[in-house]
Subunit: 289 residues, 2 copies
């Protein structure tokens, strides 16, 4: 059975493990801090690839940033990675195949093969964390667009310049529906710059009326974007993942999406494949499964 | 060479003509008023199909409303057509193949094969008329979604219930960016319920400052939506068609879309294949070209 050494490369840490073509993790999961200098990063790759080269068929990398359609290189700047990261020629460190894909795309693929959207030919995955990641599966394939960078959840939820997004544009879905977006919504509604996402969630749990209002506004923004995505893509389902996903009400979202769309009814699920979905998806994609 | 009898079925009139697999119109273009009763409609189909059955390989229909993935039936209600229209079994009137597709999809296909988006694997067509139609080409194929109804340009441009859309939801792109949307924007900005789309366009031409402001707001709404669509689809280009398309500034839109997106630069074109793009696209698709 085909095996990959699969990596999940994030801004803070790198996880890696041997994963087979069925998505089973076959080794311990190694964790290292993400190198802060490009020379250290390249040394890490070189040493790790050498060490595992005899054991695996593919080196499969789930990474921040957009990845080209050939799955060989990163085509966007990646803010929280070291300078030069997006210029790394991963293939230069091994003769075995190297496969690279965006982390949200990898996670969406894992859900499609093994998780919540299994059996769904058309799905939209939204990862609600510090930002909002997007992974789109159309007709059982990852949708990448002309350059590889499609699926950015930076569509405007308002068009009157009310909130700046980290991408530099105004009023993106991410600016409202991420964890950071929830904090800003809370700040605006409560007039308190100190309020945290945690305060909102704790307040909702204890029935604090104002916090419930803040949360509902946030969830209504998530809903508003999903209505548009459903009318555009006509997907079988939405899958929510990421640290903020546990707080959303999938039943509420599904009911209210379907009440407003022109396309056929859709489902709303939470992701089921866990924290290593990115790494597993890279392995599955890199091994062609 | 394969030939179709291709129809463009709209709420007011039906056009039809023989069109070959290269998209060339090979007969006169016949025009009739759209029957107002289902019995008359069925009589028209039955008689017209019989009359041309020996001459053509396919009956190809470009129609209002969403069409299923098998291209055999209409799956949505179609407000301006007679009652029962969306239940018609077109295939029952002939032994020759009948091919049906949504009119915006047909027009997008004609642009893809013969027009502004020729050579572009990924394109988004927006038809600005009374409403806003959408036709999406991904990897050189029409994108239809799970049921066939994808590409509805009913995504929210605002999420605070400021303008009701004809679809029943609030604040859709169509509600702001259609010709009707321009009129409503003018009404709101000028406080004059009598103002028409024509007044705005005439005012812009004569340099009326207020009308220019109204127009700019409308065009900025068109822009806002395109930024999101570009980040989601990463298309090679946008194509604008429909009666309102002649007034937009493609250079302005292209420059400002590309200034805000995370995906690779895109182009903005106006459609070049004219008023019969729907009918021609139905023929091309029905004949497999």
């Amino acid at each position: 059975m085909g095996k990959a050494l699969a990596f999940d490369i994030g801004g803070t840490k790198i996880c890696y493990a041997i994963i087979d073509e069925k998505g089973t993790v076959c080794s311990e999961i190694f964790k290292v801090n993400t190198p802060k200098k490009i020379e250290e990063f390249e040394k890490f790759l070189s040493e790790t690839f050498s060490k595992f080269e005899q054991e695996v068929d593919v080196f499969a990398i789930s990474t921040a940033g957009a990845v080209n359609n050939e799955n060989t290189g990163i085509i966007s700047s990646t803010g929280n990675m070291c300078e030069g990261y997006n210029k790394i020629d991963f293939q230069s460190y091994t003769k075995k195949k190297v496969f690279i894909e965006n982390d949200a795309n990898c996670a969406a693929w894992t859900e499609h093969v093994l998780g919540a959207s299994k059996g769904c030919a058309y799905s939209v995955m939204l990862t609600l964390g510090t930002g909002v990641g997007g992974g789109i599966i159309l007709n059982n394939k990852l949708y990448k667009g002309k350059s590889g960078s499609a699926g950015e959840m930076h569509f405007k939820l308002y068009n009157d310049k009310r909130r700046k997004c980290t991408c530099g544009a105004w009023d993106c879905y991410e600016a409202f529906c991420s964890g950071t977006g929830l904090k800003i919504t809370a700040e605006e509604m409560l007039g308190n710059p100190e309020v945290t996402t945690y305060d909102v969630i704790a307040g909702v749990k204890s029935g604090d009326k104002k916090m419930v209002e803040v949360f509902d506004r946030w969830q209504n923004d998530i809903l508003g974007g999903c209505i548009g995505l459903a009318n555009i893509f006509d997907p079988d389902c939405f899958v929510f993942s990421g640290s903020m996903a546990e707080f959303i009400d999938t039943e509420y979202l599904e009911k209210n999406i379907n009440a407003e769309i022109l396309t056929a009814p859709t489902k709303v699920y939470k992701a089921t494949t866990g924290n290593y979905a990115g790494m597993i998806g890279a392995a599955l994609l890199g091994l062609g499964s």
